[in-house]
């Protein structure tokens, strides 16, 4: 361990390569099911088994999803797309090559906006997004003598999102990954599940003295199956590189794997024997032309994106950055809120209901927002009842809301009426309760008038008791004040 001062002399330069499995029904180049968790080697056909004479046929949905991601990141969409073969041998890759894109990735340029350590917006530029197929899985730990191969994953569509080396810390890498995951989930193109491997990340890391222009020796780190692990791996690599350089040694060119148990990395293979992948255009697929009409059509069918909503909530609804962040964190929540505000213009109250009441119900009961029973229009009516003074917020939150969850077919007003929870806001009726309450404590009236205004609570309590809790508190206290003055 070196002193913090020494670490502080250096900064990391980080670029991430993210593989996202696309949520298509079938595989990239065949009709086989794209399904996680099926029995091994059941989602296969002669095509994904790489049998002699088989040919790939492009999955159009995968192209649409890749274009969606490109639009969301403001990339340039490539009009003329060629596919390429990347040639190498591996037991879980039955064709002996992977069909990918080389010289014409479907998207180039673009960026993803993240927050830096100071909470300021920062654009991480993208190099490219390209389409390719996944390999199968080699399972080394289930049979003592053999490696088992499951080809269900072979041919599953992927996009690879390659960033420029714009990421300057482990925390920024963490934020970037979170943004990417949020984005693919909003777009509905990937479930973003890093534990199951539907979102995978490789990190390219080098370090340099702060202010230096040149990059240091880069290493690649693989096998980090959570966002936290990516952060940990980068933190570890940064320290490792600093320690090597401070000893006067050189960082070796390397591909490393993250050991989650130890929080460290180890060398998988030295880069000297790097593969020559012998890329060449895939002769079995026709080049794909993406027209500007097609791009517009995809754009029109895009869901609202988190960044757009975040800004809208602040600018148009006057919500705080914090509230806007919570509301847009998860697509389902944001969509619920979006629908809710179509039925109410009390944005602040709507935001609170979603952030506090709904989210805590969902958390406590492990329910997903998509399965939440109370429809936004029903909740909007409840908010309106409060705004109109027909029920108090506490009655709404503590009594009506739980019943609504159980009886989503009922209206809020019906539940309030059935249980006799409508507030008395008729001033004539309220006046009777007020007068009765004052009459009950003549001595206290004198003390109140002498200046002990704190006694108002006593009278309010009595009004509530007499009205069985239904008195509109605002109106009641106003009346009490008038009568006592």
């Amino acid at each position: 361990m070196l002193s913090q001062e020494i670490y502080d002399k250096y900064e990391p330069v980080i670029g991430l390569e993210i593989h996202a499995q696309l949520l298509t029904n079938s595989k990239m180049y065949s009709a086989d099911a794209n399904e996680y968790g099926s029995s091994p080697n059941t989602n296969v056909s002669p095509i994904s088994l790489g049998h002699p004479g088989t040919l790939p046929v492009l999955n159009k949905k995968a192209v649409e999803y890749a274009v969606k991601m490109g639009i969301a990141c403001e990339c340039t969409i490539t009009p003329y797309n060629e596919f390429a073969r990347k040639n190498y041998f591996y037991a879980d890759m039955p064709k002996g090559y992977q069909i990918t894109q080389d010289t014409t990735p479907v998207c180039t340029g673009g960026f993803i906006t993240i927050k830096n350590e100071e909470g300021k917006e920062k654009k991480v530029r993208l190099t490219r997004i390209h389409m390719e197929e996944d390999s199968g899985k080699s399972i080394h730990d289930q049979d003592p003598f053999n490696t088992l191969i499951d080809l269900n994953r072979a041919g599953v569509p992927l996009i690879e999102i390659v960033s420029e080396p714009d990421i300057q810390s482990a925390q920024q890498a963490y934020n970037y990954l979170q943004e990417v995951r949020k984005l693919v989930r909003y777009l509905g193109i990937c479930d973003g599940n890093m534990e199951e491997g539907s979102l995978r990340c490789d990190a390219n890391i080098s370090i340099r003295l702060k202010g230096a222009k040149e990059f240091g020796q880069r290493v690649e780190v693989k096998n980090m199956n959570s966002i936290n692990n990516v952060k940990k791996a980068i933190e570890h690599e940064f320290r490792r590189h600093v320690e090597i350089l401070e000893k006067g040694e050189r960082v070796a060119q390397d591909t490393r794997s993250f050991d989650a148990g130890k929080g460290t990395t180890f060398s998988m293979r030295a880069k000297e024997g790097a593969h020559d992948y012998r890329y060449f255009p895939e002769p079995d697929l026709q080049p794909l032309t993406i027209t500007s009409e097609y791009i517009e059509e995809v754009r029109l069918n895009m869901p609202p994106l988190p960044n757009f909503l975040f800004k809208k909530y602040i600018r148009e609804f006057g919500l705080s950055e914090y509230d806007s962040g919570v509301l847009t964190e998860e697509k389902g929540i944001a969509l619920y809120f979006e629908e809710l505000i179509e039925h109410t213009s009390n944005f602040k109250s709507a935001a609170n209901w979603v952030m506090v009441n709904i989210k805590s119900y969902l958390n406590e009961n492990a329910v997903h927002i998509e399965d939440f029973s109370v429809k936004p229009n029903v909740l909007a009516e409840l908010i309106q009842l409060i705004d109109e003074g027909k029920i108090s917020h506490s009655v709404a939150a503590q009594k009506v809301f739980p019943l609504l969850i159980q009886h989503p077919e009922k209206k809020a007003i019906t539940i309030a009426e059935e249980n006799n929870w409508i507030q008395v806001s008729d001033s004539g009726e309220l006046e009777k309760f007020v007068e009765e309450a004052i009459a009950k404590f003549p001595d206290k009236v004198e003390i109140y008038k002498s200046g002990q205004v704190g006694l108002l609570g006593l009278f309010m309590g009595e009004v509530m008791k007499l009205s069985k809790g239904k008195a509109d508190p605002k109106l009641a206290s106003q009346l009490l004040k008038e009568k006592l003055s």
């Binding site: 790489g50 002699p52 004479g53 088989t54 790939p56 492009l58 040639n87 002996g96 079995d284 026709q286």
Partner: protein, 473 residues
């Protein structure tokens, strides 16, 4: 027995024979001609069973267009439940899980698939001497090669072991054996027939096509097999034509002086082709000599590009998933190395090495990229030519069939066998070899017609005229 399907068809419809009898006849012919080594396997039971079914269909008037046509398929075409090996040890014992689209279309019209035919390993060769299952003999003279790579297909049709055969043509593999065996060999435009189920040699060159005794049968088989297939993205969605409606017209014919005057060409072949051209001119066709300056680039360009694709296409034969696995493996690396070393033949390994080399970083631009540019130039040149001309006429091969063993030690010389045929694969144009030449040595040679892309109907019409006028059979 029957030279063409129309003869058989009339006999079937008048009940002079049955499909069962026909199949039995061919089975016995195959048995009698085993020395030719044309068939790797006869699907006898299968064929007899189908024959019975089809006889029933004929009696019910429900039979398809090819009812009872007995067809052999090159051993690089998949047929569900049947072995397919591309004449390679590396696929020894492998059975296909599915049927190639072209074969399925034949089956759907009630053709009989009689067996699989020997060929050069992975369709790489020009003499059928590269098969892991032994060479094929030319039925015209058993000391000679039948040509390749569809040598078994050509030999079987010539010897009357089946009525027609399917072959594949990557650089002449249908046309050159057709020339050597004195039959018709048709390579359609690239994309006209689906490649789904054809074991790939070089994907952007490979085409399936028929080898037949007559133009009519070639046209009939093309009619059945041609057309878009959703399983092959490179198959063309251009509508097919009525290939059987032959139309006579006066054609504009280009001849390439550089081909005809090539130093390697046999004088009689040259004179034979020239004499036919003079007669065609006399019959009213226009014949014009055209300067085609790229002859020397054809074979090198072809071998750079096809071996590059082959090196990748053949990577799947790795000893892991199916087919041959060496017994001497200790780990994954040796499983690859030993299985592939032992499983592939010399010529296949030579081409894998060559293709791997031309794609390697540092050499890619000098070889692969440059060859792609030459190919583009050739395509453009052909497109321009066909704006002016209907057909190009050149020899199929520079000479008549050669002796078995004569060229096996000289791969370069063997590669030059393809000099007149690779052009149509580089450019994608349809081409056909017609059995109209006869040498004083008693051996045949073919005349090749190359036509405008997807103009198979015009090509077949012109071919029929040539065969009707000049056939010596």
């Amino acid at each position: 027995m029957y030279r063409s399907y129309s003869e058989l068809k009339s006999n079937l419809s008048t009940n002079k024979t049955s499909v069962l009898q026909v199949v039995a006849h061919y089975v016995s012919q195959i048995e009698k001609n085993k020395h030719l080594n044309a068939f790797l396997e006869v699907f006898e039971d299968d064929a007899l069973n189908r024959a019975r079914e089809i006889d029933k269909k004929i009696s019910q008037n429900k039979a398809g267009k090819l009812a009872g046509m007995v067809i052999g398929i090159k051993d690089n075409l998949c047929y569900k439940g049947h072995k397919v090996s591309a004449s390679s040890k590396i696929l020894e014992g492998f059975k296909s899980l599915y049927t190639a689209t072209a074969v399925q279309r034949l089956l759907d019209e009630d053709a009989i698939i009689i067996g699989r035919l020997n060929c050069d390993e992975f369709a790489m060769g020009s003499s059928n001497e590269n098969s892991a299952y032994g060479k094929v003999l030319n039925p015209i003279n058993n000391k000679l090669v039948p040509g390749g790579s569809s040598g078994g297909s050509a030999a079987a049709v010539k010897a009357g072991l089946c009525m027609a055969a399917l072959g594949s043509d990557t650089g002449g593999s249908i046309r050159q054996p057709a020339s050597f065996c004195d039959i018709v060999g048709l390579k359609p435009s690239y994309g006209r027939i689906s490649r789904y189920g054809l074991i790939a040699y070089a994907s952007s060159f490979d085409q399936i096509g028929p080898l037949t005794n007559t133009i009519e049968d070639a046209a009939l088989l093309l009619q059945v097999m041609a057309g878009k297939d959703e399983m092959d993205s490179t198959s063309s969605s251009k509508p097919t034509d009525d290939y059987l409606s032959f139309e006579k017209k006066k054609n504009k014919i280009a001849i390439f002086s550089s081909f005809i005057n090539h130093s390697g060409i046999d004088h009689e072949v040259k004179n034979g082709i020239n004499s036919i051209l003079s007669k065609l001119e006399a019959q009213g066709h226009e014949v014009e000599a055209v300067d085609f300056p790229y002859l020397d680039y054809l074979v090198p360009t072809y071998y750079v590009l096809t071996t590059a694709e082959a090196s990748s296409n053949l990577a799947r034969y790795d000893g892991i998933h199916y087919g041959y696995r060496s017994e001497n493996t200790v780990d994954m690396e040796t499983a690859y190395k030993k299985s592939r070393t032992e499983g592939f033949g010399e010529e296949v390994k030579r081409r894998i090495m060559l293709g791997t080399f031309v794609l390697s970083s540092g050499y890619y631009d000098a070889y692969y990229s440059k060859a792609q540019k030459v190919r583009r130039l050739l395509k453009n040149t052909m497109d321009e030519l066909f704006e002016k001309f209907d057909h190009i006429v050149i020899p199929t091969s520079p000479h008549t069939p050669f002796q078995i063993g004569q060229q096996v030690d000289d791969p370069i010389k063997m590669y030059l066998e393809d000099i007149f045929t690779v052009l149509a694969n580089l450019s994608g144009n349809p081409a056909i070899s017609l059995p109209v030449g006869k040498h004083s040595n008693g051996l045949p040679f073919g005349l090749q017609v190359i036509s405008k892309n997807f103009c198979e109907r015009e090509m077949l019409s012109f071919s029929k005229e040539i065969v009707d006028n000049f056939s010596h059979n």
